[in-house]
């Protein structure tokens, strides 16, 4: 298990050092600094073995978090723990910076004592932790006996991510479907690879211990229901359903229930959390199509024309559109003509950057560029890197639709109808490239 946990600043000075196991000594702190932080070369692996001690590290801005061990630990767990540690710290004092770490070092030690025991990660849900570890000293001494046992049962209980007795005057739910759509397209418009990785992020402000059920147009669920309701219905709904390649859930979701019934039921944590992640590869709506046309005119001139077409309902608006057309290294000058937005040649980035604030669906726009080249004797041909694109659209390119989100709280007197629910879809570009 984890033998020691260290936090360093960018200079390699130790800010936090907590040793859990006897086999990790003070020299381990220095070994990591010398061999990794001060190493001349770029880090080639997040796991480093120095003198039979293994170090796992992650970096947050310029703060290094390192876990050391001499045993054959579960490496995936150590990294998950380090990320969790970052989440917890962020939840307590915001950005992980040298100043914040120094300002909160007593708190961090306290947290480390609680969430890592003898190197074994313990309950690290901030919701639960915040009930008895606070920045203003320890609350628990003021707790009544009842409250104390409530805390402990929550920390160790089945629902470690939520404390009891939460009350809101207004029960509200915010649900964001955030997708990033990735594309690699050939110059001829053939899709080489495309996938959507999506997240369902929730903010729940609900009283009590509500039981939630989340439904979406998952093909498997719809097909199953379709079987019961007749074939016609199945065919109809089949169109709107999407095939999910894989999904993972926050630990509040009952996985065995998902496995057997494919229903997503859970008692949500309070506040913001990521309910699920998913990936789809079939029937993706590609919001934009990029049509490149590159013509080499002699050895010193290049003509580039790029057409972008928006491919979604005309009532919707895409935002923050940016097209990046790479230019050769020996570019000496660029003349640009674009119908919409602003375009600029950025010599330092070797690219033409074309920005459009908004663009409605089913529209088309184009840019033409004349690129003057310096004659070179470099035999190496220009590799023609792909044209990349950034954008944001108000729908889910995977086609995912939230069908319902039901809330049941049997003990308190509010029903599903009383909860105010907000649903939002945002599709963003991931790596969206077209070769030219």
């Amino acid at each position: 298990m984890i033998g020691g946990l260290f936090i360093y600043n960018h200079k390699g000075e130790v800010l936090i050092s907590r040793v859990y196991r006897d086999d990790i000594g003070r020299n381990a702190v220095d070994a990591f600094r010398v061999n990794v932080i001060h190493a001349r070369q770029q880090v080639r692996s997040p796991v480093t073995n120095i003198a039979r001690t293994s170090f796992f590290h992650v970096k947050r801005s310029n703060i290094w978090l390192a876990a050391a061990t001499k045993q054959n630990v579960n490496a995936a767990m150590v990294f998950e723990f380090l990320y969790k540690m970052c989440d917890v710290m962020t939840a307590y004092f915001g950005k992980i910076s040298e100043e914040n770490v120094k300002n909160n070092f007593v708190l961090i030690y306290e947290l480390l004592d609680e969430i890592l025991d003898f190197g074994y990660p313990q309950n690290s849900e901030t919701g639960a932790l915040k009930t008895f570890i606070t920045q203003q000293g320890i609350k628990s001494q003021h707790h009544s006996k009842e409250e104390q046992s409530q805390i402990t049962s929550q920390v160790t209980g089945q629902i470690g991510w939520r404390r009891e007795g939460i009350k809101y005057r207004r029960n509200e739910l915010f649900l964001d479907v955030l997708e990033s759509v990735n594309l690699l397209m050939s110059p001829q418009g053939q899709v080489l690879s495309a996938h959507v990785s999506g997240r369902v992020v929730m903010k729940s402000y609900l009283s009590g211990m509500p039981e939630c059920k989340f439904g979406m147009n998952d093909k498997i669920v719809i097909d199953k229901q379709g079987k019961g309701g007749g074939s016609e219905d199945a065919a109809k709904s089949g169109k709107q359903s999407i095939a999910i390649d894989d999904c993972t859930f926050h630990q509040c979701v009952r996985l065995s229930k998902f496995d057997s019934e494919r229903s997503i039921s859970f008692i949500p944590p309070d506040g913001e959390y990521e309910l699920m992640r998913y990936r789809t590869t079939k029937d993706i709506i590609l919001p934009f199509r990029v049509i490149p046309l590159v013509r080499e005119v002699g050895r010193t001139k290049l003509e580039v024309k790029v057409v972008i077409k928006s491919n979604f309902k005309s009532s919707l608006l895409a935002q923050k559109i940016e097209v990046r057309v790479p230019t050769p290294l020996n570019t000496s000058g660029v003349q640009l003509i674009c119908m919409k937005g602003k375009a600029k040649y950025k010599a330092s980035e070797n690219a033409i950057v074309w920005k459009i604030k908004r663009m409605a669906g089913m529209k088309e726009s184009q840019i033409s560029a004349e690129i003057e080249l310096l004659p070179t004797n470099d035999k190496k041909k220009w590799a023609r890197p792909p044209i990349s694109m950034n954008f944001e659209v108000p729908f889910a390119p995977s086609g995912l639709k939230v069908r319902y989100l039901k809330v049941f709280e049997p003990k308190l007197n509010y029903s599903d109808h009383d909860v105010i629910k907000w649903v939002r879809y945002i599709g963003r570009s991931g790596i969206y490239e077209t070769r030219c």
């Binding site: 070092f105 030690y109 074994y120 104390q148 046992s149 998902f258 496995d259």
Partner: protein
Amino acid sequence: MTDSKYFTTTKKGEIFELKAELNSDKKEKKKEAVKKVIASMTVGKDVSALFPDVVNCMQTDNLELKKLVYLYLMNYAKSQPDMAIMAVNTFVKDCEDPNPLIRALAVRTMGCIRVDKITEYLCEPLRKCLKDEDPYVRKTAAVCVAKLHDINAQLVEDQGFLDTLKDLISDSNPMVVANAVAALSEIAESHPNSNLLDLNPQTINKLLTALNECTEWGQIFILDCLANYTPRDDRESQSICERVTPRLSHANSAVVLSAVKVLMKFMEMLPKDLDYYGTLLKKLAPPLVTLLSAEPELQYVALRNINLIVQRRPEILKHEMKVFFVKYNDPIYVKLEKLDIMIRLASQANIAQVLAELKEYATEVDVDFVRKAVRAIGRCAIKVEQSAERCVSTLLDLIQTKVNYVVQEAIVVIKDIFRKYPNKYESVIATLCENLDSLDEPEARAAMIWIVGEYAERIDNADELLESFLEGFHDESTQVQLQLLTAIVKLFLKKPTETQELVQQVLSLATQDSDNPDLRDRGYIYWRLLSTDPVAAKEVVLAEKPLISEETDLIEPTLLEELICHIGTLASVYHKPPSAFVEGSRGVQHKRLPGSAGSGESVESPDTGSAAGVSDAPPAVIPSQGDLLGDLLNLDLAPPATTTGPPPPTSSGMQMGAMDLLGGGLDSLMGDESEPLGGDLGGSPAMGAGFGAPPAAMPASFNAPVSGGLDDLFDLGGGVGMPSGAYSPPKSIWLPAMKAKGLEISGTFARRAGVVQMEMTLTNKAMSVMTDFAIQFNRNSFGLAPAGPLQVLTPVSPNQSIEVALPLNTVGPVMKMEPLNNLQVAVKNNIDVFYFSCQYPISMLFVEDGKMERQVFLATWKDIPNDNESQFQIKDCHLSSDAASSKLQGSNIFTIAKRTVDGQDMLYQSTKLTNGIWVLAELRVQAGNPNYTVSLKCRAPEVAQCVFQSYEAVLKN
């Protein structure tokens, strides 16, 4: 209020000030002081001097202060064991506190104070806490047992804590169960044989129930523990798998990987024809792919594991090639791992895409990555034959970029492609040769040299190219030197006429001027091969190469099995068994995949390793430069004769070989039409090791050849001999039919009527008639040569044998052979020319007038320095001295005088060789003792060994 100020106090007298503050009456001040102490401790300052003062602050109802003091205690208790006892009372008291958080804090901290004296005091509080009503305390106490075990294992056993811990597996609280499992697993690891974690279907069931309810970390502990269980049968295995699969959808990658581990392991037990088996395989792919969207560090861990999984069960991810395509922003360690997996997954179906990607990668910035990408293209060519052509043209494109490291890497992989597909892509050699000058890395240079050597016959200026490398021979790395040596020998074997000088140059560079034993060894091996048996040399050096394996860098199957059992852990990241990086008893246990159900059909392929753990040799990988040497060494390269007694200095033998290379070796290569090359061509250097030189000087003479001995050799020349009755050894097979297209030659030598004869039986074991026999000798130590043509008058029909006697003379060209009596013979017939070597008994060179005058004998005996005397024992000889004397006389060893001293007969004998060398002998025969002693004195002591052999042979026959 900020705490960062505590980090800034670095003034002198700080400790003193802190001491005062710690003893202050004001609570706030105390707390501030403890914070300062902790801050100092963090940055590595020694604040142990404050121990008593800090411990004094422990008795407080302020929990924050208490925690800080505990933190201090954990750090310094070990250095102040006596003082640490002061803290015990507080711990004991705190364990009784009404607040469960304080009870847990006390029990948690207690275990971290690693002081033997204290541990005893902790047992009672710990026992209570293990049975505490509050689960929070119990889960903390469970871990504390593991802590205590780490300090004092015996104590934990004696106190019965292990049983209590086992009971906790049935606790109602899932977190208690998880921690108990973690603690037990850890303790069990240091007791490999104990049955501590008594996993039976009941406990497994409890664990699986807790799995659904506990925290993500608890799930990992439980899954890791489950992975150690071996189900009784495939049904149990399946039911566990069914209950574990939902974990594959967990957001925590470690949970997913641990679940994958359990499934990969238990799958081994499922029959392959089971529907569920297929379902399970399908279920494994998506979560593995999803791991690749995690943070980069986790991706790295996942990729290292996927690398193992793909090797064990390639079918899981065979359709998922695209997800391993490298993204521009991936960190380099992710990129490199992805590339590895891409190569493993490459197949005919996806090769076009893969190649397109690899080509893109080859233009990236990171040198390591680019190199690996280029190498990957080569691997694809070797793995997927259909793609080879495209790969080669891609590589050529890359070579055209002239980016130095790309070119070099490309040449290295093209070498492997040539090996895999000989005679297919040689058209590109010209392009490769253009880049000769830009190669500065040993591997690339070696590869290029290999290519030139291998295709020497197609490269017009191969000799020039190789010669250009030879100029800086000694500055090259060993790899290049070895390759250059081999390449030039290849070239020589292919174009012998033009490259003699070159090969001579490289052989002498390798054997004489190099300090590298490998290089010298290889040099000698070639040298000897070329000198003794050029045909064999051809067979060895230009042998068909073994096929190179498609898959590379495969992990050895038993190790792979073990690593599969360690999925998710560091072992799977390092691809090394835990014992390789974990100290002590932990991790020394080697884990195994369970045996399969029924007929063992779950084992993928025979070489994937059975449960029995037969350690197969790892499959051949793309060979490095060293393998040719390996091939050579596998051959039996023992010298043709086994000499007894003091072995002749081998180095001199090599020297002789060098000589021979230019004579006989070359002759034979050119077939029988060539005349032996003039003696002076090779004469001078090799003769340096002539007979006159004393044996001790031999190795030296090899390093610095001198021609001094030459004269002696010829001075000794001349001489003829007579009578018959000489000893002749029985015939032995010199040339087996297998080596000579059906011609078998057996033979012996005899001296009949003063004439040396070579008596041979030629047997035709082939299907066709043999005619046109001819014979030729290589130069040899005594100038033996056929006195006339080989008289085979009639054609030899199949299965017929004929006897031939070939009279020999001793006026042929002379060259010292090793062993001295070695004779290399070429026999020609209508089919081919065959070469063999044989050894003649030196006794047939003993001439008939070898009887010395007594006076001369005495004088000569005195004259020859004692250094030249050598003594031998002849064992188990039951002849009397007279019988021996007469028997020896039959072989021209003459007794000059006989003396009897103390019942010991001393025979003084002389003999003369055809080249005029006199050998004087003293033979001592003691009645009743079957062991004779022979002392030989001769001006050319090299012959002593051979003469002694003749003595022995004559006396015993």
